[in-house]
Assembly symmetry: C2
Homo-oligomer: 460 residues x 2
C-alpha cells in the first residue's frame, strides 16, 4: 500500500513537472515569436501616422475602424465583425485662446485646451477675474462668501509627486477636471481652468473628459499646461489685478453611429468560451493616441498574429477587440457587454491593455469568479523570469472590459512601467515616437502568453 | 513561566513591529523628499548640456570633475576630495568615413564610428573587399582557408531580441566589439566593422571599448548603425563585387592624470564604516552621457542631499563617488579600491547605478559577506509597495564598485527597467532629453532608502 502510494506520488510529481515544463516551453515560444517577429509596432505606426487622432464620431475614427478590421484579417483572425454603438460627437473647433491680463503689463498668452465634452465660450470669449483653488473645502468656503461669483476658477491642485503609482496620483487629482465646472458654476463661476493632469513640467495642455451636472449652468472648462499653471500661480500671488481671457467654440454634435471591431480565432474544443483581449481605438483629438491606446489595440491584434504564426489552434475562442469611445462615453465597452449578455457564449476572461505600451510588469486579476482568479494566479511561477512577474489579485480589468463583470468574467489588467505615462496622456505629445518597439512587443507577448494558458487549461 | 514567556513573545513582537514601522516611515520620508524636491534631474541637465561628452583625459572630463566637486559641496557633503588616477586618453579626431562601393553603382555612405581605443586607418583610408561573419567558428573556418586575408571583416551577429534581459543580449554580442579586431587580424584581416550593439533599428552607430591583443597587428575597428548593417548585409547577398572604404584618424595619446570625486557625510557613531554609492562620470565622446552614466553620478549625490534636507545624521559614513574612466580602462574604480585597501576604514557596502536613469526595479545584492547579503535581503519586505521590490542575491554591484570585492564589501547593483537602455547607449542619442525626471528621481530615492537602513542598522 505504502509502495503504491509512493509510486502514485512520484507519478503525479513527474506528470506535474512535465506539464509545467510544457507550459513553460509553450509560453517561451510565444515570447520568442513576439520579440523576433512582432508586428504591433509597425501596425501602430500606420494608425498613428496615417490616420492619427481619432476621437469618437470623427472621420478619422471611421477610418481607424476600417483599418483595424482589415488588419485583423491580415493578422490572422478567422472572423472579423463590426459591433455597432452610438457615440457622442464632440468637436473642438478653432484653436482655443487663453490670455493672462495684468494691470499695466502686456497680455500673456498661455497654453490651454478645452476639456473634452465641454461647451464653448460665447463668440467673444470670457474675460473675468480669477480665483485659485486647491481644495473643494476652499471652493465651498469662498463660494458661500460669494467670492466665486463672476470669476474664472483656476483649479491648481497638482498630481501628487509622492504617490508611488502614477495612476493613483492621476485618480486623486482627476476630480478637478471631471467635476470642476459644475461645482464652480454652482457658486456663479463663469469658467474654469484646470491644471493639466501630469507629473511633467512642460507646455502641453492635457485634455480629457469632463462632465456637467445637467441642472447647473454649463460653463466652459479648459486645461492649462503645468508650467503655465505655475506661472499663473505666481502671477496671482504677486499682481493685484489679474484677469483671464478664454475663448473657444467647441461643441457637442448629435450622436453618431460607430463600432467596436472584433476579430477572433475560433476555439477548436470550446468555441463558446470566449477570451477577450484589447484596448480602445478612439483617442483624444489632440493626440495620435499612441500610448492611449493604439498600443493596447495593436497588442490585442498581435495575440492573434502570434498564435497563427506558430501554427497553433487554441481550444477556446480568442477575440481581439478594438473598443470605441473609451475616452468620452464608454459606449463601446457597454455595447460589447450588451452583446455578450444576449449571446449564448461564455465570456470566461477579458484582458485589457490601456496603461501605455511600456515594459509590462504583471497582471491584476479580478472579477467575481474567485476560483478562476486563483487558478490564473497559480500560474504566476511560470512568469518569474520575465519582467512581468509582479501579479496581484483584484481590480476590474479596465474601463472597457470592466463592463463584463456581471457575466462572471475573469477581468485582467496588464500593468506596465507607466511612471511616464501621464507625461504624454491626452496631449499632442502622445506620439508614435514615444513608444519603444521592444517594450511594446513585450507587452503583446505577455498578453499572448497568459491567454494561451487560459485557452488551453480553461478556468473551470 | 509560561506567562512570562508569553509576555516576552508579545514584547518582542511589539518591539519588532514598532521597529518595522519606524523603518517603513523613515524610508517613506526619504522617498517623499526625493520625489517632491529631487535635484538630480536639474543637476544632470547641467552636466549633459553645459559640459556634455566627457571621455577620460578630455578637457570636458576635467570640467566635469570640477563641477561635481562643487556640486557635492552644494548638495551637502561634509568633505569633498579628488582621488587621483592615471587614465588613457583616446581621441577620435576628424569624423570617420565609411562607404560601400558596388561595381557599376554609386558609392553609398553609411553611418559608422570608430570603436573606442581603436587605432586609426592610414591617412588615405582602407579600401578592401568584405566578408560578413556571424560566428567565431565561421571566422576561423574562413580564416584557415585564407578567405579573411586582405579583407574588411563585417561582424553582423545581432543582439538577440528574444533575450529577456537586454543586458544579457548585450553581453552575448559584445565579444565582437571587444575582440573582433585582433581575431580578424590574426587571419590577415585589414579592418573590422561591427554591427552596433543595440536592439534599436536606426542610424546611430554605437561606439564602446575594444581591445587589441598586443602581439597581433592592430587594425582599425568601426561600429556601423544597425539599419546600415542590414543594408550592407543585403548588398553583400545581392551584389557580386562589394568593397568597403573606411577612414579615420583616431589615436591613443599618453595617459593623463584624472580623478574620482568623493563627497561624504561622516557617520556619527561609526565614522570608519563606509557606504559607497555612485556611478561613473566619464562618458563616450559621442554622447552627453545622460543614461550612461550621468544619472548614476547624480543619484549618488542626491543621496547626500536627501539626508541633509531631512536634517538626519547617519550613524555610518555615506560617500557619493563619481568614478572616472569606467568606459575605457576602469582606472577610477581600481584607484578607489587601492585607496580603500590602504585605509583603516571598513568599506561595508557599495551601491552602483550604471544601468540608466529608468524606473528602479530592485537590487542585486552580492559580495563575499554572505551574512551581510542575508541581512540586507531581509529588509526586502519594507520595499514591497514600491516599484523597486524585485530583489535578488548575487552579482558584483557593477564595473566600478566591483573592485571592492576583496574587502568583503557588500556589493549592490541598482536594477532598472532598462529594456530601452541600449537604444541610447554609447551614441549621440544618449541625451538628457531621453531621461525622465520622475524615473530618475525615483532611482535616487531607492538608493537613499536602502543606504539609510544600512547606515542605521549596520551589517554586523
Amino acid at each position: 500500500m505504502k509502495k503504491h502510494f509512493l509510486l502514485l506520488v512520484i507519478f503525479l510529481f513527474v506528470k506535474f513537472s512535465f506539464a509545467q515544463n510544457t507550459d513553460s516551453m509553450e509560453i517561451r515560444a510565444i515570447y520568442n515569436e513576439a520579440m523576433s517577429n512582432g508586428k504591433s509596432y509597425k501596425n501602430l505606426e500606420h494608425l498613428c501616422k496615417s490616420i492619427g487622432a481619432r476621437l469618437s464620431g470623427s472621420k478619422q475614427a471611421y477610418e481607424a475602424v476600417e483599418y483595424v478590421a482589415m488588419l485583423m484579417k491580415e493578422m490572422g483572425a478567422d472572423t472579423v465583425l463590426k459591433q455597432p454603438c452610438m457615440v457622442p460627437h464632440w468637436v473642438r473647433g478653432t484653436k482655443e485662446e487663453g490670455i493672462i491680463y495684468r494691470k499695466g503689463l502686456s497680455p500673456m498668452p498661455v497654453n490651454v485646451c478645452a476639456l473634452g465634452n465641454s461647451d464653448g465660450t460665447s463668440p467673444t470669449g470670457i474675460k473675468a477675474p480669477m480665483v485659485e483653488i486647491t481644495s473643494w473645502r476652499q471652493l465651498d468656503s469662498l463660494g458661500k462668501r460669494g467670492e466665486i461669483k463672476g470669476k474664472i476658477v483656476f483649479y491648481n491642485r497638482p498630481m501628487e509627486p509622492t504617490e508611488i503609482n502614477a495612476g493613483a496620483a492621476y485618480g486623486k487629482a482627476g476630480d478637478q477636471r471631471w467635476a470642476g465646472a459644475s461645482r464652480a458654476a454652482k457658486y456663479g463661476g463663469v469658467g474654469v481652468l484646470v491644471r493639466s493632469l501630469t507629473h511633467a513640467h512642460d507646455y502641453f495642455p492635457h485634455t480629457g473628459a469632463m462632465g456637467y451636472v445637467d441642472t447647473i449652468t454649463h460653463i466652459p472648462a479648459f486645461a492649462i499646461a503645468t508650467l503655465d499653471a505655475d506661472l499663473l500661480h505666481y502671477t496671482l500671488q504677486g499682481v493685484a489685478a489679474v484677469e483671464f481671457y478664454m475663448y473657444d467654440d467647441c461643441k457637442m454634435l448629435p450622436d453618431e453611429l460607430s463600432y467596436n471591431v472584433v476579430g477572433e480565432i475560433k476555439g477548436t474544443e470550446f468555441p463558446n468560451e470566449i477570451i477577450t483581449v484589447g484596448g480602445h481605438l478612439d483617442s483624444w483629438d489632440l493626440a495620435e493616441g499612441a500610448h492611449d491606446d493604439g498600443t493596447g489595440v495593436m497588442q490585442g491584434i498581435e495575440v492573434l498574429r502570434i498564435i497563427k504564426a506558430l501554427g497553433w489552434k487554441p481550444k477556446r475562442t480568442i477575440r481581439a477587440v478594438a473598443f470605441m469611445n473609451e475616452e468620452n462615453g464608454g459606449k463601446g465597452g457597454a455595447a460589447y457587454f450588451e452583446d455578450a449578455k444576449r449571446s449564448d457564449k461564455k465570456f470566461i476572461a477579458a484582458l485589457e491593455s490601456d496603461g501605455g505600451g511600456f515594459t509590462p510588469m504583471g497582471f491584476s486579476i479580478g472579477g467575481k469568479n474567485k476560483n478562476a482568479v486563483e487558478k490564473i494566479y497559480g500560474w504566476k511561477n511560470l512568469f518569474e523570469k520575465y519582467p512581468f512577474s509582479k501579479w496581484d489579485k483584484g481590480g476590474n480589468g479596465g474601463a472597457d472590459v470592466g463592463h463584463l463583470q456581471p457575466l462572471n468574467t475573469c477581468l485582467i489588467e496588464l500593468n506596465v512601467d507607466g511612471q511616464r505615462y501621464f507625461d504624454y496622456h491626452h496631449t499632442a505629445n502622445d506620439r508614435f515616437e514615444n513608444v519603444n518597439r521592444r517594450e511594446l512587443e513585450m507587452g503583446g507577448a505577455s498578453l499572448a502568453m497568459l491567454i494561451w494558458l487560459i485557452s488551453e487549461k480553461g478556468l473551470e
